[in-house]
Structure formats: C-alpha cells, structure tokens
Amino acid sequence: MGRTALGELRKIGAGPERRQAVDDSTRDANARQVFEVLAELKGPALKLGQVLSQQRHELPEAWARRLAALQRSAPPMHGALVRVQIRNELGRPPEDLFDAFEREPFAAASLGQVHRARRGGEELAVKVQYPGIERAIGSDFSILQALLRTAELAVHRPELEPALAEVRQHVEQEVDYVQEADALELFGRHLESEEDVRVPRVVRELSGRRVLTMERLEGFHVEELLRAGVPQAEHDRLATRLLDLFFRQTMVLGVFQADSHPGNFLFLPDGRIGLLDLGCTKRLPPDLVREHRRLFLLPLDDDAALTEQFIRLRLFDPEEERARERLSLLLRMQRLDVPMYQSDQAFDFADGAWLRDLSLCLRDALRAGLTHPELVLYMRAKLGLYSLFHQLGARVRCHRVLRAYL
C-alpha cells in the first residue's frame, strides 16, 4: 500500500491501473452492493471512476479495485450500434453522410467512442455516445446517492457525497454533445488569434446531442511526446504555453476546461497545441475571478489577509465544522502553490515531492469538507495541469506567465 500520490499522478492517462488487493470484507460487501448499481450506469460510472480515481488514495482499496475493473469492462460499441446511433441522431446512416467512415473506433471517449471519417476532403473525428445514458443518469444517480448515504463509506468519507453530486453535474453536461460543440466554438472564437493553438472546428450539421463531428487534429499525446525525445526547451515552452492558456481561460474568457486530463491536449508536429475534449467546462463569474486573482498577490506570511480573502471567496467559513483544519490546509496549499507566481525564478515541475504535497493537501482539504461550486474544480484542473508539467519535467517561469493577466 506504499504507492504515493506522485506515482498515481504519473499514471493519469497512462492506461489501466493495477491495484493491490486489500482484504476488508465489510467494505468489500458495501462496495459490491454499490457496484451492482454502478455496473448499470456505464458512462456515468466510468466518469465517477475517473473523477474518484484522481483521488484514488482516498478510497478503500475494495472500491478502487472494483472501479478499475468497471472501467476496463465497459464494452465498446460495434459498428452496427454506432450506425444506429448516428442514424437516430442525424437522421441518416454514416455511409450517407460521410465519404468514408471507419467502422472501428480509434479512441475511447467518456460515454462513447471516436471514429475517423472523411467528408469533402476534410479529415474528421466523429464522437458517438452509447445509447440511454442521459435517461439513466437521473434515476441511477439518485439511487447511487441514496446508497452512498447508507453505505458505511459515507460515514468515513463524507466528501464522497458532494463528489458524487459534482460528478452528476459534470455528466449531465458531458452527456449533451451540443454543449461541447458550443464550448468548442466559444474557445475557437476566443483563441482564433492565437496562432499556436488549435481548437477543432465543429461540423454543426453533422452534430447533435449524441454525435459530435469535428475536424480531426493529428498529433502526440504527452506519452508519445516524451518518447519522441524532443528537447527539454520544447517541453518548457509547451508547459509555459499551457499555463498561459489556462490563465487565459480562467482570467479572461471566464470559462475553463475543467477536465485537465493529459489526454485532452494534443501536441501537433508543427509545435502547436491542440485542445481536445471540451465536454466539461466550468464558468467562473467575473467577481470570483477578480477575488481569486487577489490570492496571487497577497503576501504569503499575512495569515489574516489570506484568511479574510478565503472567507470572501467562500472557501472558508469559521462557523463550520472542521473549519480550523480547512483553514490550515488552505493556507498550506497557498504556500505550496503561490510562491512560483511571486518569484521571477523558473519553477521546476520535476519536483515530485512538491507535487505530492500539494495534491495531498487538496485531498485532505476535500476530506475536511472543502467545497466550492467553482474553485474546487479550478484547483483540480490546475493540479491536473501541474501533473502534466511534471510528466514533461518542465521548468516554467510562472510569474511571467501570470503577470500578463494581473
């Protein structure tokens, strides 16, 4: 059981994880019961698994093991079912809509899979969703939420309920590909002037709630980039650019890609960065952005000012249970995260110990009941980005990147 958060973070996006079995028969029984229900969810269960797996170390091994098994066992859709989905959503089968359509998917997606296609000489990616997920969400999540309340787990891990509620919200957004198409167009418009960033173009007339057709970008994911033996300076440049994009989204656009899974970034051969999977985005209200920006500016030894700011951001309420614990964790996170934004030195993201500390801090804060409709997602997205930087072993002058947005 000696796996560190660092090791786990390294594995994000790297494929199916193995788990050590830990005998705990009571928890196993609870887990089994909940997983009977999870097994029916398919898509949402996978999403729950993904989200919770980012906090894997929080879960009893029995849960973690079964979640992993659940993720592996989801059946892909065969060509005939894909055909039905496309015909239902777009009114005609793929052979009528595309010049070419690959029957086998080339990538999995949460809730579905992605196929290569071609139309009018343009290379396309067509994301197709498994049937019935949206209708399953409502009832099944209610059941799952009820189950969690009764399962022994809820007593020891109270943050799982809000995590579940949050996942439910995410899934409701992700299950509607029209929302993703909207997000792609919004980001595309906003980043149009950025020549080194590519947001896939949406083909609206071949898209709907369950099918999303877009321009296909060809490039490397981070693992392949690492294998390609690209110079370190390039890693640094890419990470810097990604951090810049993140602030561009959070500080200027007011909408950010909330799922910062490394697989969502594509490194194109010409050095540009492709943004994929905008199925999960979160809006940041302007006043929140303003208040949060201040966190980067406050001196790190001024506990009083920081505390006041946390209160203003509704991250902390002194009246609540375990408030002191949360405050100390928030302060710790602040002191781990912000220094690189206040010093002109380049920060070395290869520092695994630092990353582990920060992630455990967030984990503990969540365990101590930290909730916030936007900022928790923001923190997770940032942490996901940091873990990607860690994989890249990048050195980034974070202060310089942020400066442009202050």
């Binding site: 029916e40 859709m77 060509g79 005939a80 079912l81 055909r83 049937p131 019935g132 209708r135």
Partner: protein
C-alpha cells in the same frame, strides 16, 4: 419481358400500393379486400387471384422486406464482425425495413405467437417466411460452430428456435417502446446479445470474471 407478364406485375404492384395506403389510412383491421379492389379499380375476384387474403398482402410486404434485409445485411456486415454485431445488425436492419409496416406487424407476430391451423394457407406461407429467415441465421450459426466460436453442443436446432423467440421478443419490445429514438430497444438488444453470446461461449457457464463484466 412479355406484355402479359408486365401487366400482371403492374396490377400486382397497384394492389400493393393501394393496400399499403389503405392499411395506413383506414387501419389494417378496418380495410377490406373489397376496399382494396375498389381503390385499385380491379374486380374483387381478380384481386383474390393475386392475394387470397388481406393477410397475404401483409405477408408479401414482409417477404419483400426480408429479401431486402438479407441483401443489405450480406452487403453491409463485414466478414470479421463479431456474432454480437452480426445479430445486432440483422435485427436492426429488420426493424428499419419493417418500420413502415408497423401498423400491421401484429399479423405476423400474432401468427407466430398463436399459430393457426398448419393447413391454413396463411400459416404455411408465414412458415415459409420464418424458414427463410432462420435459414439465413442458421448459415451464420453453422459457421460460428465450425470456427469453434461457439461450443459444439448439438443444439443447433434449439438455438434457432431460441433465436426466433428472442427476435420476436425484441420485436414486441420495439413495437411498444416509447423511449426517445427507441434507445431502450437498442440497449436491450446490445446487452442481451453480449450476455447470451458470452454465456454460450462459456458453454453456458459464466466464469466469475465474466460475471463482473456483463451488465
């Protein structure tokens, strides 16, 4: 083609077109052979020469549909398709082709559920339709058995009857399915095929790993 045959074909087609319209507008139960003859401008007796009963007209539509289904299925299903996909695709095509005739599908389905006297002309003809369908499926099953994809257990005939019952079940379900885009039918079809074929591959025994995987 000789003139007489062409005009026979034309008459037959006219009867069919008119019948389909009448079945839609008036409903299958309400439409009579007399209505059809009248609308087609043909003597009733002549109409009976082409189709002895109203049920036979319905049957003809389904026979043509089956021919189209088999032709399309042969053309569109890749040779490397899994059994799940092969069967799913067949039933999906069937539902697609039969959609326009939903209003009188119960002619077939009721016949299958409660077969009339085997000597009744309609029963024999309906049996022929069923045989043609099952022959096509049997070809696939035999191939799967030969390849060792399904365990040899000497129950090919039983499997065909089971398949027929399964497919009727899906048809019934689909007829009454009110879910958007009938997604409940597709989910049922997908899940049940994975489960059943998975079980068959294991010789009817589900291994523990498989138990966790299904569903």
């Amino acid at each position: 083609m000789r003139a007489r045959e062409t005009s026979k074909e034309q008459t037959k087609q006219r009867i069919l077109d008119v019948a389909l319209a009448l079945f839609r507008d008036k409903g299958f139960r309400q439409a009579t052979m007399r209505d059809i003859a009248e609308a087609a401008g043909i003597a009733l007796g002549t109409t009976y020469n082409y189709f002895p009963t109203k049920d036979h007209i319905a049957l003809f539509f389904f026979e043509e549909a089956l021919s189209r289904v088999i032709a399309r299925h042969r053309r569109e299903t890749p040779p490397e398709a899994s059994l799940e996909e092969w069967i799913f695709s067949l039933i999906a095509l069937e539902l697609e082709e039969v959609e326009p005739f939903r209003g009188f599908l119960d002619v077939l389905v009721a016949q299958a559920a409660v077969p009339g006297s085997p000597l009744h002309p309609f029963s024999l003809d309906a049996e022929r339709l069923k045989s043609r369908y099952l022959d096509y499926v049997a070809g696939m099953l035999r191939g799967a058995l030969d390849r060792g994809e399904l365990p040899q257990a000497g129950y090919e005939a039983l499997m065909l009857q089971a398949f027929w019952a399964f497919h009727l079940g899906i048809l019934f379900f689909w007829l009454n399915d009110e879910s958007p885009h009938k997604e409940d039918t597709w989910i049922l079809l997908d899940k049940s095929l994975r489960f059943i074929l998975g079980a068959l591959r294991q010789g009817g025994q589900l291994a523990p790993e498989q138990r966790e995987q299904t569903g």
